[in-house]
C-alpha cells in the first residue's frame, strides 16, 4: 500500500488523521467549556446565573461587572425614589434591585496590588536571574552543579512549609502584608526558574561573539552588555512572562501572608459575596478580568511554553 503513496512510508494515513483530528477537537472543545462558562456567567444577572436548568441562552447584562466594582446597600423604595435620576447604567441596574451604590469595592486596589507585585518581582527575578545565568554559563564557578541544584531545590519546598517561618520573619521585620515583602518572596521563588531558563538561553549564544568584542578592546562587562544581552532578548522576554504568570497566579503565600493593604486578586476573588452567598456573576466577572492577560501571554508564549514549564529541561 505504501508503494502507491507519494509521501514518506511512515506518514499517517488520511483516515488516521481524521480520527485523530476529531478526538482532539472534541477534547479541546470540552476542556474549554468551563472557561466559556465563566465568561458567559460574567454577563448573566444573579437570578439567571443560578437558574435551573443552567441557562445557555440569556439576556446579557453587565450587572456582574457593576457588582464587582461597587459595594451596595439595600434601601427602601421610598428612599430610592427620593434620589435624583440614576447616573449611568450600573446605578440604574442596582436601583432596580432596591439597592444603591455605596462606594467602590476592593477589587480595583487588589488588582493593582497584583500588578505591582507581579511586575516588581518579575523585574527583580529576571535581573538577578540574567546575571547569575551569565555567571554560570560563561565562568568556571566552583561547585556550579551543586549551586544550580541548590537554586532549583528551593522550588521543592511546599509553599505552606515556607510560609510558617516567613510569616514569623516578616512579623519581626514589619514586612507582613506589604507589597515589598511579597515582591521579595516571589522574587526568591521565581529566581530559580529565571536562572535555569536563562542559563539555557545564554548557553545557546556562541561565546565567539563576546571573544571577538573583547579582542576589539571591550571589557568583559561591556561585551556582556553589548553582545550577550541583545542576543538574549527573546529568552529574557519569555522568562519574564513565565515569572509574571507565576506571580500573577500565586495563591498560597498571598492568602497566608497578606490580608489587607497588600492582598492580591487571587485570595480576594473567592471572597466576593452578595446577599445570601457567593455573587457568582461578580466572581465570574473578576475571574474573567483576571484571566484575560494570561490568555494573551499564553498565545504569545506558545513556542517557548515547553521550555518554560520544564525549567529548560526540554528544549525541542
Amino acid at each position: 500500500m505504501s508503494l502507491t503513496s507519494a509521501h514518506s512510508v511512515v506518514a499517517p494515513s488520511a483516515n488516521s488523521k481524521l480520527v485523530a483530528g476529531t478526538i482532539i477537537v472534541a477534547y479541546a472543545l470540552i476542556s474549554i467549556v468551563p472557561l466559556l462558562w465563566i465568561f458567559a456567567t460574567s454577563f448573566k444577572t444573579p437570578p439567571d446565573s443560578i437558574a435551573y436548568p443552567p441557562k445557555i441562552v440569556f439576556q446579557p447584562s453587565i450587572e456582574g461587572y457593576c457588582n464587582l466594582f461597587t459595594t451596595r446597600t439595600r434601601q427602601t423604595p421610598e428612599y430610592i425614589n427620593s434620589l435624583g435620576p440614576a447616573t449611568g447604567f450600573c446605578d440604574e441596574t442596582v436601583r432596580k434591585r432596591n439597592m444603591v451604590i455605596a462606594g467602590p469595592s476592593n477589587f480595583l486596589p487588589r488588582f493593582v496590588n497584583s500588578l505591582i507585585i507581579a511586575f516588581g518581582s518579575t523585574f527583580c527575578a529576571v535581573f538577578l536571574g540574567t546575571l547569575s545565568a551569565y555567571g554560570f554559563s560563561r565562568f568556571k564557578v566552583p561547585l556550579a552543579d551543586d549551586l544550580l541544584f541548590f537554586i532549583l531545590s528551593t522550588r521543592f519546598m511546599p509553599p505552606i512549609a515556607v510560609a510558617i517561618p516567613i510569616y514569623l520573619m516578616y512579623r519581626e521585620l514589619g514586612l507582613s502584608d506589604t507589597a515589598l515583602g511579597m515582591i521579595l518572596l516571589y522574587t526568591a521563588v521565581n529566581v530559580s526558574l529565571a536562572v535555569w531558563l536563562l542559563k539555557g538561553f545564554i548557553d545557546e549564544i556562541p561565546r565567539e561573539y563576546e571573544e571577538a568584542a573583547m579582542i576589539d578592546g571591550y571589557t568583559r562587562l561591556q561585551a556582556f552588555w553589548r553582545t550577550v544581552l541583545p542576543q538574549a532578548t527573546t529568552g529574557i522576554a519569555a522568562t519574564a512572562i513565565f515569572c509574571l504568570i507565576f506571580a500573577w497566579n500565586e495563591y498560597a503565600f498571598a492568602a497566608l501572608l497578606t490580608s489587607g493593604s497588600a492582598q492580591t486578586a487571587p485570595p480576594f476573588i473567592p471572597t466576593i459575596i452578595g446577599e445570601g452567598g457567593q455573587d457568582w456573576p461578580a466572581v465570574a466577572a473578576g475571574t474573567t478580568i483576571f484571566l484575560v492577560p494570561i490568555l494573551v501571554f499564553t498565545i504569545l508564549l506558545r513556542k517557548q511554553l515547553l521550555r518554560g514549564i520544564t525549567f529548560g529541561a526540554v528544549r525541542k
Binding site: 514518506s8 488523521k17 485523530a20 483530528g21 478526538i23 482532539i24 479541546a28 476542556s31 467549556v33 468551563p34 472557561l35 462558562w37 456567567t41 436548568p53 443552567p54 546575571l131 547569575s132 555567571g135 565562568f139 568556571k140 549551586l147 541548590f150 521543592f156 519546598m157 511546599p158 505552606i160 512549609a161 510558617i164 517561618p165 510569616y167 514569623l168 520573619m169 512579623r171 521579595l184 518572596l185 526568591a188 529566581v191 562587562l221 561591556q222 552588555w225 553589548r226 504568570i245 495563591y251 498560597a252 492568602a255 497566608l256 487571587p266 473567592p270 457567593q278 457568582w280 466572581v283 465570574a284 475571574t287 484571566l291 499564553t298 506558545r302 514549564i309 520544564t310 526540554v314 525541542k316
Partner: protein, 315 residues
Amino acid sequence: MLNRTADNVARATPEPLARRVRGISDKGLAWLFISPTILLLLAINIFPLFWAIYLSFTNFRANRPNEVVKNLGLANYKRILTDQDIWIAMQTTAHFVFWTILLQTVIGFTLAWLIDRKFRGHAFWTTIILVPMMLSPAVVGNFWRFLYEPQIGLFSYVISFVTGIPPTNVQMLSNVDLAPWSIIIVDTWMWTPYVMLICLAGLRSIPEYIYEAAEVDRASNWRQFWSITLPMALPFIMLAVLFRGIENFKMFDMVNLLTGGGPGSTTEVASITLKRQAFESWRTGYSSAFAIILFVAVFGLANIYVKALNKVKQR
C-alpha cells in the same frame, strides 16, 4: 541604541570605579553576578528553613509569642509519626497524587500521540488545549465550586442529564465518596495539557528513519508502538511525572478553595493539614516539624527519581 547606552554608562562611570570594574577578574565578575541570587535565596529560603528546623524542636506557638519556649527535643517528630490524622492526610495525598498522575499521563500521552498525526489545524487546537494549565489554580478552582453546585452547576447538570440521577443528588463536593474525585477531576482538567506538551516533545524527538527501518522490517504498528514509540518517549513521560508528582504532593491552592479539605477531612491533603495546624490551631512548633518531614520526603523522592531518569536517558 544599546551600544550607545553602554558607551554612556562607560563614560559616566567615575574613573577610579571604572578602573576597578575594568580590572575586575573573570572570577570576581562571576561571583559579583551570582552572589546576589545566592544571598536572596539564603535570606528568603534557607534562613527560614533553619528557623523552621529550630522551631520544630520546640512548643512555640506563633499566636503566643511572649510565652516561654520549651525545648521538646524530638517529641514533635515522634508525635507526627504516630499521629493517626497525619497518616490519613498522607493517604489522602497519595490517593490524589496517584490518580491524578495516572489519569494525566494516560490522557496526556494519548492526546500527544494523536496530535502527532499532524492533521490540519493541529497547532491551533493544541494551543486551545494548553489554556487551562496557564491559569491560576486558585481562581479557577474557586469557579469549579460553582460548576459542582448541585442542580444549578453546569457539571452536576450534565452528569444528571447523562446518567438520569436526580440533579439534587449530584453532590460532588459534599459527598464523602465523591469529594476526593472532584479534586482529581479539576486537577486532571488543568494539568493534562502539561503532560501532553512534554509527551509531544518526546514523540517529536523520535527520528523518522527508525520508523522507516521498522517498516522495511515489516514490524506491525502495534510492535512499532511498543518497541519504538513508548521506550523512546519514556524519559519525557518520566520527566512529566516527576514535575506533576512534586507539584501535586505540595498541592494546596486548588483544593483549599474547592473543598477546604472537607467534607470532614476527606480531601485534607498534606498541605491543608499543615495549614490547619500552623495557621488555625497555631501549633507552630508541631507544624514546623511536619513541614520539615514533608520537605525531606519531596526532596528524597525527587532525588531518587532524578537518578532513575538519568539511567533511562543513558539507555
